[in-house]
Amino acid sequence: MAGTGTFSYAPAIALFPLVAFVVALVFGKYMPKKGAIAGIFATAGSLLLSLVMFAAVAGGEVYHETLYEWTSGDITSQVGAEEIEFTFGILLDPLSTLMLVIVSLVALLVHVFSLGYMNAEGETGLPRYYAELGLFTFSMLAFVFADNLLMAFMFFELVGLCSYLLIGFWFRTRSAPSAAKKAFLVTRFGDYFFLIGVVAIAATFGTVAFAGDDSFVTAAETAINDGTQLFGFDARTWVTITGLLVLGGVIGKSAQFPLHTWLPDAMEGPTTVSALIHAATMVAAGVYLVARMFGYYALSPTALAIIAFVGGFTALFAATMGVVKDDVKQVLAYSTISQYGYMMLGLGVGGYVAGVFHLMNHAFFKALLFLGAGAVIILMHHEQDMWKMGGLKDKAPVTYYTFLAGALALAGIIPFSGFWSKDEILYDALIVGLEEPVILAAYAMGLVAVFFTGFYTFRMVFLTFHGEPRSEAAEDPHPVGWAVKVPLITLGILATVVGLANLAPIAKLLSIDITFLEFWLDGEYGAIEGLTYHEYHETVPFEEGYISSETVTMLIGAGVSLGLALAGAFTAHTLYNVPEPSRHMTKLGGAYTVLRSNYYQDEFQVWLAEGVTQPIARAADRFDRTVIDGTVNGVSSISLFGSSRVKRIQTGIVTNYAALLVAGFIGLLLVLGLYGGWF
């Protein structure tokens, strides 16, 4: 493996933001812009290095190197390995370098945007903010280039910590700390399963490496081929079980049903943080992990089907909730859940390229939308209710057009980036679904969700930017500076054109080789053996079917999804693109209430925490204080009581003592006499 030259700088990608964290934390107070500069330089450095790595991988090199041994020891693994090493290492292959570029780019733009969003607003605690951003970026970058599952888990957890800190940034309120706690707890619940998965995989295969001959993926494949029994299970079953355990962490972090509830609450954090969490870090981490160990999931059709079904269900489920929200950030939050559902669907049907493609596109257009929402919030003097907005189109053209580009991408309107990736996911789902009924159901849910996506996206756009201003703030918006506009424009361009990376439908129609991302992930330029799309595709055990022919299937799929998206957008247009829109959603009656209440998922989880767990805890406490401690105190009470009775023999009257003495003597004599046979 190439361990020299360019790649020896790879650790710095993550270390730059770590340094920025320390600098901002310790010296932030004394620095101009309160530590923002350190963060901007660090993320810019990371971006630069990531691009260099990207170029190097494009040049046909890959990097897989263990840098530091955490610990090692003896084990008795199920497949016969006798030693295990837990290490920190870097794996730079097409997937991770692509993700590194995305993460560092979004992080950089978020840092820049923060200058306009946080500094300009005179927030307190800015050094803390920038320090936490730095730590967040560090954790995510290190997670992305991790070369083994344990390292990935460790930085996965650190990402969770940072999201906790940043969501709770405004700790003086009551709601922010509560949302932060919820985010950490819900994802922690998922990570519980993830940790069992890590431990199980390590104990089974004696390795946690992602790539190479000694990776757990290879070991699992061998075990399946050899028909080995693992912990009393058939090898494939055990792979399914462990894969699903790891998936628990993914469902938590990527906010899939039923662990999605933390994400809308996480909007309590600064909008910049939401952009970072949703586009490139925390939420992306889950799906990225599935892509990272896709070879493992590819071994288990059950796990894949579950991923696909959960994804499809979440896509639809979240999209319906997004339809009734009034807060612009809430709409975006539910759209995030829904979009990550698509990625899961794509990966679950074996559409590795499609999933990663959507992950990339989503990172750009969702960062754009959140930063756009941040800009709107600045414009609106910190008002987030869409019903108080309106008419911002002419007053803030830059914000409007960039936001519109993001919205078109999100809704999946041709030719914006979201269309290409979403279409590819749905196509992959369709061709597998024609053979597998479960996947067909997932596909159907994904398809219906397209309509809702188009609808809520344009409902948001129309309510925010079109019509007449509906409040004083909307009539007289606060101006936004360059620090806001530059990131928006950058992301706006990216959201529009990044779809060019993989124009699969056009490539198929015209038979030209323009599916660059597929080539990229397939190792045309350079990849690590075993981690290519090609090989994943061969492992995935799904049959594929077509309606008459491949092209026709593709055209039907694309047509239907585009038609649904346009239908959604058009419905929103008729309902809301009017000077004085009204709340049509309330006409839904009971359904509206259910949707507004998020299907009572929050209530359910709060009930689990407060209605079930806390009473149990209190009962345990009562049991502890009464029965267990009662027994302990009872023993001492009995001793005390007993001695208080016995001590009464000591009357203090000498005569009694003497009498006792005599009586005792006589008694002793009698006893001895009886036993000695004197009588």
Binding site: W70, F171, R172, K181, R188, V199, A203, A617, A620
Partner: protein
């Protein structure tokens, strides 16, 4: 000679501090306590032992002198360190120094006696972790109780007498059970032992065990002794259901005493379990694997549930100690290199982390004079640094990666998951791991209510930042915790080196 010097410095220091004026006692005790701390760190770097102290290992800083002849048995001054004990000695000396510094603020009465007792505890704790003769070890073991009893009973909270007596009587009765059992074992071993030196007894145990005593068969005697000693140590650990003295003692104890109690005294229990039960009775460990693992899991989950129901910060941390020590038992019963090694690592790691947590809670208490979660809110507004460290410590407790707690828990889970001699090990491990969710639950709830939110606290004075000498010890601890989390092999390698002979039945 090094160990004797450590103990002597602490003992003489205790006497000197006892007679020193109150005014300077704190600073003086701190200065004295630095000597063992620095010396033990030097010993740590110069450590050249290998293998297990009881099983033919090479001891570091060994010394042995004949002391008494008791019938056929000789008792000697026999001390030495192996890879298991040296991290614990370092933990003790460092934690004592930092605890002394952290008590400068809260202790304002009879200082010289207070600090003298703390140093006296230190001497005995070092003795417990280094003694290799049963009688010597037992003297140190019991002598730890007296100063701790006084620390709680004199400088404690409102119910200090109840707590102190409960602590003393409970642990003392447990010691009696253990002592009786061990003496029976030694007599049962008959001619094969001629002294109370632990290595000799361990060898005799592994070479066939006792012939019988008091009419009991050899195997029965071994089982009875194993169970009795397990119960004796279980109280000290403490393991559910013998844990109820702990929250009372913690709540009433002054902060530095809590730090030592949670940080070091609890480790005596698990250390003794490892040294006696898990080294000398490999057969019984296998026989009783399932019940002990069940107790461990119950301790983890039940302790965590209890912590969830508390509103007193110290009680929360106290119950979470029960939960954390459950992990240690799980690691021990796994009987694999990662399990037992991880358990030993977790002892050290939990010592530092719980010490940090008690200090942080103490600092907040110094400022607010309340520990009730319901009484305060938004403390981060007034004491950002102390609260920042509290948050860091809480996440350490939750097992955040790159902090020592994660390494301990991960290795325990990993070692226990694949444990061959523990039936249903996967089920036990998965159940115990749910503790990491509950611990996050109660700590985050507590943080949310106390340090976040709008600032609310009813006082007739202004709550300001904590003084430097309150914060410095916490920074030091945090540094150690992160260091051990990033580079666990600093101690894990020597631990596994000392653990391996146990697992191989005495063979290297």
């Amino acid at each position: 000679m090094m160990i004797e010097i450590l103990i002597a410095v602490a003992l003489v220091g205790a006497l000197v501090t006892f007679v020193a004026p109150n005014r300077i006692a704190g600073k003086l005790a701190f200065a004295i306590s630095l000597v063992p701390a620095v010396l033990s760190l030097w010993m740590f770097t110069a450590f050249d032992g290998s293998g297990n102290a009881l099983l033919d290992g090479t001891l570091a800083f060994e010394s042995q002198y004949e002391w008494l002849q008791l019938g056929e048995y000789s008792i000697s001054w026999f001390v030495g360190l192996d890879g298991i004990s040296i991290p614990l000695v370092v933990l003790t000396t460092i934690l004592v120094s930092l605890a002394i510094m952290s008590s400068w603020t809260p202790i304002d009465d009879r200082e010289s006696q207070f600090y003298g007792l703390v140093l006296f505890i230190e001497a005995n704790l070092i003795g417990v972790f280094s003694a290799l003769d049963f009688f010597l070890w037992f003297i140190f073991w019991e002598a730890v109780l007296i100063p701790m009893y006084l620390l709680i009973g004199i400088w404690g909270g409102p119910r200090r007498k109840y707590a102190a007596i409960k602590f003393f009587v409970y642990t003392n009765v447990a010691s009696l059970v253990m002592f009786g059992a061990f003496i029976a074992l030694v007599f049962g071993l008959g001619d094969s032992v001629t002294s109370f030196a632990l290595p000799e007894i361990a060898t005799a145990m592994l070479n066939g065990g006792p012939d019988g005593f008091l009419g009991l068969e050899g195997t029965t005697l071994t089982s009875v002794v194993f169970v009795a000693m397990f119960l004796g140590f279980a109280v000290k650990v403490p393991v559910v259901p013998f844990h109820t003295w702990l929250p009372d003692a913690h709540v009433e104890a002054p902060t530095p005493a809590s730090v030592l109690l949670a940080g070091v005294l609890l480790k005596m229990g698990t250390y003794a379990l490892l040294r006696f039960n898990f080294t000398m009775f490999p057969g019984q460990v296998e026989t009783y694997a399932v019940p002990i693992a069940a107790i461990a899991v119950i301790s983890v989950i039940y302790g965590a549930m209890l912590a969830l129901a508390q509103t007193d910060l110290k009680r929360i941390v106290a119950y979470s100690s029960v939960s954390s020590m459950g992990y240690v038992i799980l690691g021990l019963i796994a009987y694999t290199q990662f399990g037992v090694g991880g358990a030993t690592f977790q002892m050290v790691s939990h010592g530092f982390i719980s010490g940090l947590m008690f200090m942080a809670v103490g600092v907040i208490y110094n400022a607010t004079h309340t520990r009730l979660v319901t009484d305060m809110s938004g403390m981060a507004d007034r004491m950002p640094v102390a609260v920042g460290i509290l948050i860091a410590g809480a996440f350490g407790y939750m097992g955040l990666p790159l902090m020592s707690g994660f390494f301990g828990e991960f290795t325990i889970f990993f070692g226990a998951f694949g444990a061959e001699q523990l039936p249903y090990s996967q089920v036990f491990t998965s159940l115990a791991m749910f503790g990491i969710v509950i611990v996050a639950g109660y700590l985050l709830f507590a943080l949310q209510r106390t340090v976040f939110g709008p600032y609310e606290l009813e006082t007739d004075y202004e709550v300001g930042r904590a003084p430097l000498h309150d914060v410095v010890p916490m920074f030091v601890l945090l540094g150690i915790i992160i260091l051990l989390g990033v580079a666990p092999d600093l101690i894990f390698e020597m631990i596994t080196d000392a653990v391996d002979p146990i697992l191989n039945g005495g063979e290297l």
